[in-house]
C-alpha cells in the first residue's frame, strides 16, 4: 500500500517539475486557427500560408510594412523611367537561399516569369499582368518593362505571391520551403505544428528569436485555454471574441485590437431581380443597423464601413452616413421599387462566424421591412462553386481580406454582377496614376460611387484581435496584409 502511494507521489512531482521548465526566452509559440495546405505562397491563396512564411522565410523584391507601406526587400533600391513603364531594380549582393545556393538576378527573372507563365498556378496571377518583359542586366540588376504604367506595381511585388524562389527548390517549396529570409523552415508535424528557426547566414538584420513554433488550434475554447495555460504565448489573430474581455482584465496579457484589409459585405446579385434595382439594394443597406450587427455578431469588435475601403488607408473617407440605418426610408424605397409588401429571397452564408451570426441578425432586420430572407448555410467549397463561380445566389455575406482590392468591383463576371462603366473608368485611371495626391482623389471618387450605387451593402471592417504575453514586443498590431512578420519580435527581460 505504502509503495503505491510513493509511486503516485513520484509521478505527481515529476509532472509538476517537467511543466515548470519554461521555454528559454528566445523561442516563441504562436497559435494559428487554420493550418496552411502547404507552404508555397506562390501556389495558393490561403492566408495561412503567408501567416507563416511571409517576411520570415520568403522575401520579394519589395515588402509590405506594418503600416501597409512599400519597403525595399531583396531589391535595395529602384529607379523608374520617365514614361513610368521601366523599373530597374538594384539587388542586394551576397544573398543566399537557405539551401546554400546564391541569389541573383536570374532568380528574379525565373520567379516572375514562372508566376505569369502559361503553366502558372499562382493564385494572384493578375498581379503580374502588367509585366511585359523581365531582363537580367547583370547579376545584381533586373529591368522590368511594363505594358502600361501601373501605380500599384511596387506594391504588387510586395505580395506573398510575388516572393523570389530559386529554380532548384521551386518544385519542393510546398513541403520544404527554401527562401532567403531571416528564418529557415525546420519541421512540420501535419495537423499539429510548424517550426521555423533563425537563419544564421541571413544577409540583412538578423532575427531576434532563435525559434518560432506555429501551433494549429482551430477551436476557440481551446485557443483560450492554450493562452491561459501558457502553452502558446501569442495568438496574433485570436478567434474567440467573447473571451477577449477576460484577457483585457489580465495583466499577464496584452490585447491589441487592430485593423485589417477585410471589408465585410452583404453581397447582392446585381443582375438578378429584385436586386437589379438600385432602390432595392439601397433599401437593404438602410435596413441594416451596423452597430447592432457588430455588437451581436462580433462582440463589438470591428469598424463600420460605408464603402469598400480600409479605414486605416490615408485616402479613406467615412461614408457610413450615405446608407445609415433608417428602416422607414428602407420601407419607402422598397415600395417605390414596386414591392410594397416586400419579397422572399435567400441568403447564403459561408462558415466563418461573422457570416453565420451576422446573417441571422441581418435576416431579422430585413424582416422588419418585409423582406423574408431564407438562410442557407454553405461550406467554402460550395460557396466558391455556387456563389462565386456560378453566381447562383441572391444575397451572401463574405469578408474580402485581400489588400488593395477595390478593383474587384470593376471586374467583368465577378460575383456581384455589378457593371458600371464609370467605376471601371475610375479604376483604369487609378491604375495608371502613380502621383499620390491624384490617386487619393480618384480613390475617394471611387469610394463615393460605390456608396451611392450600393453594389453590396458595406458592413464592417474585420478587426485584427491580437493577444500575446505582455513581455513580447514587435508583433504587428494591424494587418495590412495577412502575415506574422517575426523579424523584429523579441522577449523583454
Amino acid at each position: 500500500m505504502k509503495s503505491w502511494k510513493l509511486v503516485i507521489a513520484g509521478v505527481a512531482v515529476s509532472l509538476v517539475m517537467s511543466s515548470a521548465s519554461y521555454a528559454a526566452k528566445t523561442d516563441l509559440v504562436l497559435g494559428i486557427v487554420l493550418e496552411p495546405p502547404h507552404l508555397d505562397p506562390t501556389a495558393g491563396a490561403a492566408a495561412a500560408i503567408d501567416e507563416i512564411v511571409y517576411a520570415n522565410i520568403f522575401e520579394g523584391l519589395t515588402r509590405i510594412g506594418p503600416k501597409g507601406d512599400v519597403l525595399p526587400a531583396l531589391a535595395e533600391s529602384w529607379t523608374q523611367s520617365e514614361d513610368g513603364k521601366v523599373y530597374t531594380f538594384k539587388l542586394h549582393k551576397d544573398v543566399k537561399f537557405h539551401d546554400g545556393t546564391a541569389f541573383d538576378a536570374d532568380d528574379v527573372k525565373f520567379s516572375l516569369d514562372r508566376a505569369r507563365g502559361n503553366t502558372s498556378t499562382n493564385a494572384q496571377k493578375g498581379l503580374f499582368a502588367a509585366i511585359d518583359t523581365v531582363d537580367v542586366v547583370d547579376p545584381s540588376t533586373v529591368r522590368v518593362t511594363l505594358k502600361q504604367p501601373s501605380g500599384d506595381f511596387l506594391y504588387n511585388m510586395g505580395w506573398g505571391d510575388a516572393v523570389i524562389v530559386a529554380p532548384e527548390s521551386a518544385g519542393t517549396n510546398k513541403d520544404k520551403p527554401v527562401g532567403t529570409g531571416p528564418f529557415k523552415f525546420n519541421s512540420w508535424a501535419k495537423g499539429s505544428q510548424i517550426v521555423i528557426a533563425k537563419n544564421p547566414d541571413y544577409w540583412g538584420k538578423p532575427a531576434l528569436l532563435d525559434k518560432a513554433t506555429f501551433r494549429v488550434i482551430p477551436d476557440p475554447a481551446a485557443a483560450t485555454a492554450a493562452l491561459l495555460a501558457g502553452d502558446v504565448q501569442a495568438f496574433p489573430v485570436f478567434p474567440s471574441y467573447e473571451s477577449i474581455p477576460q484577457f483585457q482584465a489580465d495583466p499577464r496579457f496584452k490585447v491589441v485590437i487592430g485593423t485589417t484589409e477585410g471589408e465585410t459585405v452583404l453581397g447582392m446579385n446585381n443582375k438578378k431581380p429584385p436586386f437589379d434595382n438600385p432602390k432595392v439594394r439601397q433599401a437593404v443597406a438602410r435596413a441594416i443597423d451596423r452597430k447592432s450587427l457588430i455588437d451581436g455578431a462580433m462582440f463589438g469588435f470591428g469598424m463600420p464601413i460605408g464603402s469598400f475601403f480600409p479605414p486605416h488607408h490615408p485616402a479613406y473617407i467615412d461614408l457610413t452616413a450615405e446608407t445609415a440605418y433608417d428602416p422607414e426610408l428602407a420601407k419607402k424605397l422598397i415600395a417605390e421599387a414596386g414591392h410594397p409588401d416586400g419579397f422572399k429571397t435567400t441568403l447564403k452564408l459561408p462558415p466563418p462566424t461573422y457570416a453565420r451570426r451576422g446573417g441571422e441578425i441581418i435576416a431579422a432586420e430585413l424582416r422588419e421591412i418585409g423582406i423574408e430572407a431564407e438562410i442557407i448555410p454553405v461550406e467554402w467549397a460550395q460557396w466558391l462553386d455556387q456563389v462565386f463561380k456560378n453566381k447562383d445566389y441572391d444575397m451572401t455575406i463574405v469578408s474580402h481580406t485581400e489588400p488593395n482590392d477595390l478593383n474587384i468591383f470593376s471586374r467583368d463576371d465577378y460575383y456581384f454582377n455589378y457593371d458600371s462603366p464609370a467605376f471601371k473608368d475610375l479604376i483604369k485611371q487609378i491604375d495608371a496614376t502613380s502621383n499620390g495626391a491624384e490617386r487619393t482623389g480618384l480613390y475617394q471618387q471611387a469610394q463615393k460611387l460605390l456608396a451611392k450605387d450600393v453594389p453590396a451593402a458595406f458592413l464592417f471592417q474585420l478587426p485584427k484581435t491580437g493577444i500575446w504575453d505582455a513581455k513580447i514586443k514587435g508583433l504587428w498590431e494591424n494587418g495590412p496584409i495577412q502575415a506574422n512578420d517575426l523579424t523584429a519580435v523579441k522577449w523583454l527581460d
Binding site: 505527481a12 509532472l15 509538476v16 517537467s18 511543466s19 493550418e35 495546405p37 502547404h38 501556389a43 495558393g44 491563396a45 490561403a46 502559361n118 503553366t119 502558372s120 498556378t121 499562382n122 493564385a123 494572384q124 496571377k125 493578375g126 510546398k174 513541403d175 508535424a189 501535419k190 495537423g191 499539429s192 505544428q193 501551433r215 494549429v216 488550434i217 482551430p218 477551436d219 475554447a221 481551446a222 485555454a225 492554450a226 491561459l228 495555460a229 501558457g230 502553452d231 462558415p351 461550406e379 467554402w380 467549397a381 460550395q382 466558391l384 462553386d385 455556387q386 462565386f388 463561380k389 474580402h400 485581400e402 482590392d405
Partner: protein, 315 residues
C-alpha cells in the same frame, strides 16, 4: 474449416471492392473544386485549370477510379491534393496519435466500467446500485467536449500539471507524448465507461435470471461463485461486442475531442480533408477504416468457427 474460412475471406474481398466503388463515386459527385478552393477568389481561370491538371482532376472519372484502385492494391493511396504528400504518410502520422489514444481510452473505460457494472449487478436494487447507475447515467448525459474543457481548466490552466492540448510527436519523447494524451483519454473514456458499465450490469442481470444459474445455486454454489464462475463469462459476450464498436468509434469518431485538445488525429484529418475537398485523403481514410472493420469481422467470424463446432460442420 478451410471452405468456411475461404468463403469468409472471399466475401470480405468482395465487400471491400464494392465499398471502394461506392466511396469513390459518392465523394467524386460532391460539389466543389479542390483547385478553385486552393487558389481562392482572385485566381484566373487558366491558373485554376493548370492546377486541376497538376492534381490529375481533368481525367475521366473511370480512369481515375481504376488508377486509384490499382494504387490501393499496391499500398499506394495517392497523393494529397492540398498537402501534396503521399496519403499513406499522412494517415500513418495520424494513426500514431489516434491508435494509442483509442487504446488508452478503451483500457481506461474497461478498467472503470467492469468493476462498477459487476458491483451494481451484485447489489441489484440496493442503494449502492442506484447510486452507481445514477452516476453512470450522468456520464452518458454529460457532453464529452464540455467535460474535456472542464478537465483543461482544472488540470492545465489552474494546476498546470499537463498541457492544455497539442501533441509533441513521439519523436519528442515517450513521456511528454503520453502526458499530452492523459486528459483526452480521460475525456473519451468516461462516457464510454458509463455506457459500458450499464451494459455490463444489464447483461449480468439477464444471465443471472437463466435456469442454469438457478441450477448452479441449487447445487450449493455461493452467490459469489455463481457470479464470477458462471454468469460473468456468459455476460461478457454483449460487453465485448460493445467494446468492439467503441474501438471503431474511438479510432476516427473523436473529432470533437481532437478539436478541444488540438490533437492531430484521424478524425481531424478527415474533417479537414472534407472541407478542403482533398477527396483522395477522405477516400484513403474511409477505405482504411472499412478494411479494419472487415478484418475485425473476419477474425470474429473465424474465431466463432473455432469456438463453435456447429459452424464448422454446417459448411
Amino acid at each position: 474449416m478451410l471452405s468456411y474460412a475461404t468463403k469468409r475471406a472471399l466475401i470480405a474481398i468482395f465487400t471491400l471492392l464494392v465499398a471502394s466503388l461506392v466511396v469513390f463515386t459518392m465523394l467524386e459527385i460532391v460539389p466543389g473544386d479542390p483547385a478553385r478552393l486552393m487558389l481562392g477568389m482572385n485566381a484566373t481561370e487558366d491558373a485554376v485549370h493548370n492546377l486541376q491538371q497538376q492534381m490529375g482532376l481533368n481525367q475521366p472519372l473511370a480512369i481515375r477510379y481504376f488508377s486509384w484502385l490499382g494504387g490501393l492494391l499496391t499500398g499506394d493511396l495517392g497523393k494529397s491534393y492540398t498537402y501534396s504528400v503521399p496519403v499513406f504518410d499522412l494517415i500513418k502520422e495520424r494513426v500514431a496519435v489516434s491508435l494509442p489514444l483509442a487504446a488508452i481510452s478503451l483500457a481506461l473505460s474497461t478498467l472503470i466500467a467492469l468493476p462498477v457494472g459487476i458491483f451494481a449487478a451484485s447489489k441489484r436494487g440496493e442503494f449502492s446500485d442506484t447510486l452507481a447507475m445514477g452516476v453512470a447515467q450522468m456520464g452518458v448525459a454529460i457532453p464529452n467536449f464540455w467535460f474535456a474543457l472542464l478537465l483543461v481548466y482544472v488540470f492545465a490552466v489552474t494546476l498546470r500539471l499537463v498541457p492544455a492540448g497539442g501533441f509533441p510527436g513521439w519523436s519528442a519523447g515517450f513521456g511528454v507524448s503520453l502526458k499530452s494524451l492523459i486528459l483526452p483519454s480521460i475525456a473519451l473514456a468516461l462516457p464510454q465507461a458509463a455506457i459500458l458499465a450499464r451494459v455490463t450490469r444489464s447483461a449480468l442481470l439477464e444471465v443471472l435470471g437463466e435456469d442454469y444459474i438457478r441450477t448452479a445455486r441449487a447445487k450449493g454454489l455461493s452467490r459469489r461463485q455463481v457470479l464470477y464462475r458462471h454468469a460473468l463469462r456468459n455476460a461478457l459476450i454483449p460487453v465485448l461486442t460493445i467494446l468492439g464498436l467503441q474501438f471503431a468509434f474511438l479510432l476516427a469518431g473523436t473529432i470533437i475531442i481532437e478539436n478541444v485538445f488540438y490533437l492531430p488525429g484521424l478524425g481531424r484529418l478527415v474533417f479537414q480533408a472534407i472541407t478542403q475537398r482533398d477527396l483522395i485523403v477522405v477516400e484513403g481514410v474511409v477505405m482504411l477504416l472499412i478494411a479494419t472493420l472487415i478484418l475485425v469481422n473476419l477474425l470474429v467470424d473465424l474465431s466463432y468457427a473455432a469456438v463453435d463446432p456447429r459452424l464448422r460442420r454446417r459448411s
